[in-house]
């Protein structure tokens, strides 16, 4: 009997590997291999034509002295610092409003979610036109209330805030997730708090936020990772300008790799990006111990 079952187990294990094989291959060829290759490439000078030339830490040294690298890091960090928390706060605020047993919830949910469904080039083109300083709808609406709007994406000072503003259009994407998590908070907790005389403000901060903090945390992590990968908007709308005001990190990486064919230098940029994201994620997990609340037994 024992032999029989171990034979069965062996068969199941074999099948297990077999069914997981696509991912094993994919992981090796498209993830693990390229990460190692990218690490090695980052120590070379390579234009795709001649043989790669080993230059040790040369690329990393160049990088620290490259003002555009720092500009890319700065632009991307500022973008993440504003768009991620604003997006979370906005999405959460809408979710809380929608959670008040309102009529026509599904219609409102659809409308709020709609902008999050579309993305990429078409959206970038649409917003370029919205941001047009002379004929765009944004400055037109501002003119109705007597404000002379700025040059938006054509103005060095306003270009990055414009892209942050545009990112908030998709705030409904997070809203759906917060709404689902709000509905999962047990009502007994609120009832008990009301009996104890807690105000609705107090109930929000002491019950709602702790109960859904794991979801907020997950959105924060993914939001930061996502905002470090911004490319299309910058490429289409501003092409990094004016005067590098929107030179997002990945746009600079793209230029190095696929316009200037500096594969070694671009790999170094990619690895630094990887390390930055990794560090930010680890730091987030450390900080999470102080504010993210996990129910026992989850």
């Amino acid at each position: 009997m024992k032999r029989y079952s171990s034979k069965l187990a062996r068969k199941e294990a074999l099948e297990g590997y077999l069914y997981a094989l696509p991912w094993f291959i994919g992981f090796t060829v498209f993830t693990a291999g390229p990460i190692i290759a990218s690490f090695l490439l980052s120590f070379t000078n390579w234009d795709l034509i001649r043989h790669p030339q080993w230059i040790s830490f040369g690329n990393y040294k160049t990088l620290t002295e490259d003002p555009l690298f720092w500009q890319g890091l700065k632009v991307t960090s500022i973008y993440a610092t504003f768009s991620v928390p604003l997006g979370i706060a906005g999405g959460l605020a809408i979710a809380v409003l929608m959670n008040q047993k309102i009529k026509g919830l599904s219609v409102f949910r659809t409308i709020y979610y709609l902008p999050a469904v579309v993305s990429g080039v078409a959206v970038s083109l649409l917003w370029s036109w919205i941001f047009n300083p002379d004929f765009g709808v944004l400055n037109y609406l501002l003119s109705l209330v007597g404000i002379r709007g700025p040059g938006w994406i054509y103005d060095e000072k306003w270009a990055l805030p414009s892209l942050i503003l545009m990112s908030l259009w998709g705030v409904g994407g997070g809203m759906v997730i917060y709404l689902a998590s709000l509905q999962g908070v047990p009502t007994e907790l609120y009832e008990a708090a009301i009996i104890d005389g807690a105000s609705s403000w107090k109930r929000f901060w002491s019950i709602t936020i702790p109960m859904i903090s794991p979801v907020i945390f997950f959105q924060l992590i993914m939001g930061i990772i996502g905002s470090f990968q911004v490319f299309t908007q910058a490429y289409i709308m501003t092409n990094g300008g004016p005067n590098n005001a929107t030179l997002f990190y990945v746009l600079y990486l793209y230029r190095n790799a696929f316009q200037w064919f500096k594969m070694g230098y671009a790999s170094a940029l990619a690895w630094v990006l990887f390390l930055v994201i990794l560090t930010l994620t680890i730091v987030q997990f450390k900080i999470a111990n102080y504010w993210v609340y996990y129910e026992v037994g989850r």
């Binding site: 187990a9 199941e12 294990a13 074999l14 099948e15 297990g16 590997y17 069914y19 997981a20 696509p22 991912w23 291959i25 994919g26 060829v29 498209f30 390229p34 990460i35 990218s38 490439l41 795709l48 809408i94 409003l97 008040q100 409102f108 659809t110 409308i111 709020y112 979610y113 709609l114 902008p115 469904v117 579309v118 990429g120 080039v121 078409a122 959206v123 083109l125 649409l126 036109w129 004929f135 709808v137 037109y140 994407g173 759906v176 997730i177 998590s181 979801v215 945390f217 992590i221 990772i225 470090f228 990968q229 490319f231 299309t232 490429y235 289409i236 990486l253 790799a257 990006l273 990887f274």
Partner: protein, 282 residues
Amino acid sequence: MYLGVRTTTIITRVIIYTVIIAGAFVLMIPFFWMLSTSLKDEGAVWLFPPRWIPRPIVWENYKTAFTMWPFGLYLLNSVKLVVINITGILLSCSMVAFSFSRLRWPGRDFFFLLLISTMMIPGQVTMIPIFVLFRYFGWIDTFYPLTVPSFFGSPFYIFLLRQFFLTIPREMEEAAKIDGCSTFQIFSRIILPLSKPALGTVAIFTFMGVWNDFMGPLIYLNSESKRTATLALGFFRSAWYGGTHTAVLMASSMIVMLPCLLLFFFAQRYYIQGVVITGLKG
């Protein structure tokens, strides 16, 4: 003045509705603006203050979008990529998710953790070596770099499907096993048919991802005849700096957005379900 509890509740609700309706209106403005511009003649585009309802309404712009350049071909290219990617993703990810949720094998939990952690690796880190690899294969300016990877699983979708497969009661497959079903039969006759909603979600996400992908086609495709709709729109932009064709450009953008909007309308339940599953269980 002291307001009764009832009055305060009514006031609160009025405020809530006002805020929600105002917000919804603001979020819709860009769509109205796009639609309105796409139906204007070129002169009306450059009017200030702008007119919301174009006079005359120029449906021609949508026709021009197809005659001015081979936009139909670009859309067809996008459709091709979408179909192949959905096939690849559904096949590979459901198999792998089945293995991770239903079969026991040594190292499974470790590899699952590894799989989840790869979700956090930005694509830009692996982009260059993968490009070099495909270039070595001679695949530049073909659809292969944009389709072949889908047949080797994607961590995000594997994760989503695994979460769903775990909710299917084990008793069903125990019974099937006693009846002499093979592992493949359990997979194809029990798990897959019961997972249609999750598979639908994955298909929709894949559609959106591939349809809107810009960087992939930008890096790999050179020939004009191979451009996807999204890539072509991107090139249209650089030809557009002169300021003409704004209405046609908005019409083209509208056409590219439309499938995503329609898909969302008709499959909203699957869509939101998928967003919630992956967003809640980090």
